[in-house]
Structure formats: C-alpha cells, structure tokens
C-alpha cells in the first residue's frame, strides 16, 4: 500500500565532519550520502569542508579531490569527466545531474550530494541500475529491418529523415530522467521510464527501421508506456537538455493515430 515514510533501515543519520585545511579562505561544505553494505548501519551524511581555491570548478572535481586527498573510502562512479559517458549521474542540490557538468558556483550554500533517487544502493553514491538496463534491453534498441542492406554501402537516409533523430541520439543513458520520475518511483517494476521510452521512440522514428508497428505493440500497455503522467521531471532534469517527455507524447500520438 501507500508508503508515507522511509523504511526504518533507510532513515539517514548524522555522519562525520572533515574540517577544512588550515589557512583555507574559500571554504564550502559538501554534505554527502554515505552507506556501505559491509555493516548493518543506517546511511549517514558526512560533511567535507573543502577549500574551493585548490580544486577544479565542477562538483566532480570536488568529490575526486575528497577521494584522493581527504577520504579514500568515498565511492562513486566516474569516467569521462566531460558529460559523454553518463557515469557520474547523481542527485546534486536536489536535482539529478552529471557531477562533471555541474559547476560548484551554481549551487548556493552547502553542496548536498545523494545517489540517484529510489534505486537500490550498491555503496555511497553508486546506485544499482540493473533493472533500468534490462528495461532498455527489453525494447530492443537496435535496428530491425527485413530488407537487405545495399551490398556495397550503408542503409541510406534522407537529410529530413536523419533530422528526426536529433534530440534522441544524444542520450547517454545516465538515467537522471528515469530516476527523477515519480511514476517510475511508484511503478518502476512495470513502467519503462523516460530514458527507455526515449530510446524506444528513437527506433520508432528511424526511417531505416521496419519494425515500427511491433515496437508500438510492445509498448501499448497501461504501465509500460501509459504510466507516464506527464509530470515532466525528465525534461527538466536532463543534463544533456533533451526532451524525453516529448518522445513519450509522440509514442502516444502514434498509437492513437493507428487506432482512429
């Protein structure tokens, strides 16, 4: 039934404070969610006071600094540090975004960092995305064409046809949108979520794909697609500036179009 409060083992306690180095002038406090599966303790918020003059401009620079210089136990994912791999997706200052694209100076007051919301936690800022990855696989995000490709070249597409994929191929699957969606929080086991639906529409909209109808069939479901309540957190939070809500709307329109 309805859950009004966090389960007892999820309530967050107060953690340790790591003071700023002596002589630091430009100090900011980073309040970071910590939890480890290695003991039976509840999660806590640790506070790290950093001298902004000694670190790079982005939130990712700050947490890499913490791991290297202050507290090596802090666990998070990161790779490209330029917004193309999607690894460092986390909840910063109340909004899901990529730590590598979020400037510290854009945040007022303490910098609060949590893992992506409402997913199982592996450790600290690392959330378990296995379910979301499996949902992506379930929509078969690859080309399905029965016509043979030309023997000596790639499948061709007009400039107009190619333009329809703009705003979708840029998705890096960081799942900031999916984990910001209340509908996904409520029914994440059945609702596919905005990232996966954007990927689904990317293939529905691809002129080279010949299984459009099958794709729409597989999505026509009270939950898989229609659990979208047009809350639009997805579009608001997308660190790449994409519009998953519009893609979901287009899928609904196409399903309507073939019915009437």
């Amino acid at each position: 039934m309805v859950e009004l409060r966090l389960p007892r083992n999820s309530t967050i306690g107060k953690g340790k404070t790591f003071p700023a180095p002596a002589g630091a002038k430009n100090v900011r406090t980073f309040r970071i969610y910590r939890w480890t599966p290695d003991d039976d303790k509840n999660p806590v918020i640790d506070s790290y006071e950093l001298d902004l003059d000694t670190i790079g401009p982005m939130v990712l620079d700050a947490i890499i600094h913490i791991k290297n210089e202050v507290d090596p136990t802090l666990t998070f994912r990161r790779s490209c540090r330029e917004g193309i791999c999607g690894s460092c997706a986390m909840n910063i200052d109340g909004e899901n975004t990529l730590a590598c694209l979020k400037p510290i100076k854009d945040i007022k007051g303490d910098v609060r960092i949590y893992p992506l919301p409402h997913m199982p936690i592996v450790k600290d800022l690392v959330s378990n995305l296995d379910g979301a990855y499996a949902q992506l696989r379930s929509i078969q995000p690859w080309m399905q064409s029965d016509s043979a490709p030309p023997p000596d070249s790639e499948r061709r597409q007009s400039v107009e046809e190619r333009a329809k994929l703009d705003g979708m191929w840029e998705c890096i699957l960081c799942f900031c949108c999916t984990t910001s969606c209340p509908s996904y929080w409520w029914n994440g086991d059945k609702y596919l979520g905005p990232a996966v639906l954007l990927a689904a529409y990317r293939w529905v909209a691809d002129s080279r794909d010949e299984h459009t109808g099958d794709r729409l069939d597989a999505l026509e479901d009270t939950f898989k697609l229609y659990a979208c309540r047009t809350i639009m957190n997805c579009t608001q939070t997308c660190p790449k500036g994409l519009n998953p809500a519009k893609a979901i709307g287009r899928l609904k329109e196409l399903q309507l179009e073939r019915k009437i």
Partner: protein, 137 residues
C-alpha cells in the same frame, strides 16, 4: 557475514522481470478518453454554471419547468455521464500509482462501481425531474 545467508525470494533475471507479462495492448483508449472527456467538460460545465446563475432565486416550480425542457435534460445527463466517466478514469490513475499488490484489483473495482453508481443516480434524478416537469404541463 551472517552465519546463515539471507533467503533470496526472487532469482528471476532482470530481463525476465523487465519483460514481465508483456504488453497488455490497452492504455491508449484510456489516455485518449481522459483528454476527450476533459475537453468536453469545459463547455458542459460552463453551460451548467451559467444556467445555475440564471436559476438563482427561482422557486421549485420554475426549476422543474426548466428541467422538463429536452435540451436542458440532455445537457444535464451529458454533463453527469462525462463527469463521472472522467472521475473514473482519473481515480484509476491514482489507484494505479499508489495502490500496489493484492489491494490493487479490489480498489480498482471499487472505483469503477462507485463512480458508475453515482453517475447512474444523477441520471435517474434528471429523468425524474424531466418526467415530473413534463407531467405538470
């Protein structure tokens, strides 16, 4: 580590869980009906509010006379059916969002039956008003 490993209830693969029971092939009708009823309620509700202002201060006989006109009775019934149908669709969404597990199906049924009966009650009341007014002529 615990001496006895915790019991794992679900070992099904993530892909198996994601595919679930497959698509139910419904949802587009519900989604479209929500929008059509919402749009229809705009003119119907406006008409109703205007009529209520016009009837302000009227006595019983006048209201019965108003309700005996076929156009008024038709509009009233259309308003009532659309309202309760829209309520049914909307409440179903709330139930789908917040009620999980075994309680889901009975709650959904309760919403269907409840809104249908309330709508029916409204329609019967309008018919009664219409018949009473027509007989008084």
């Amino acid at each position: 580590m615990n001496a006895s490993a915790p019991h794992i209830e679900v070992m099904r693969s993530q892909l198996g869980r994601a595919r679930g029971l497959g698509a139910g092939h419904s949802g587009v009708g519900h989604w479209w009906a929500e929008r059509v009823t919402a749009a229809s309620l705009l003119p119907l509700s406006t008409w109703f509010v205007v009529q209520m202002f016009r009837l302000g201060g009227a006595d019983h006989a006048e209201v019965v006379k108003w309700g005996s006109k076929p156009v008024n009775a038709t509009m009233l019934i259309a308003l009532i059916i659309t309202t309760f149908y829209h309520a049914q669709l909307g409440l179903q969404v709330i139930v789908d969002d917040y009620v999980h597990g075994k309680a889901h199906l009975p709650t959904r049924l309760l919403v269907k039956i409840g809104t249908s009966l309330l709508g029916l009650l409204g329609v019967i009341a309008v018919i009664k008003l219409f018949v009473r007014g027509s007989a008084a002529k």
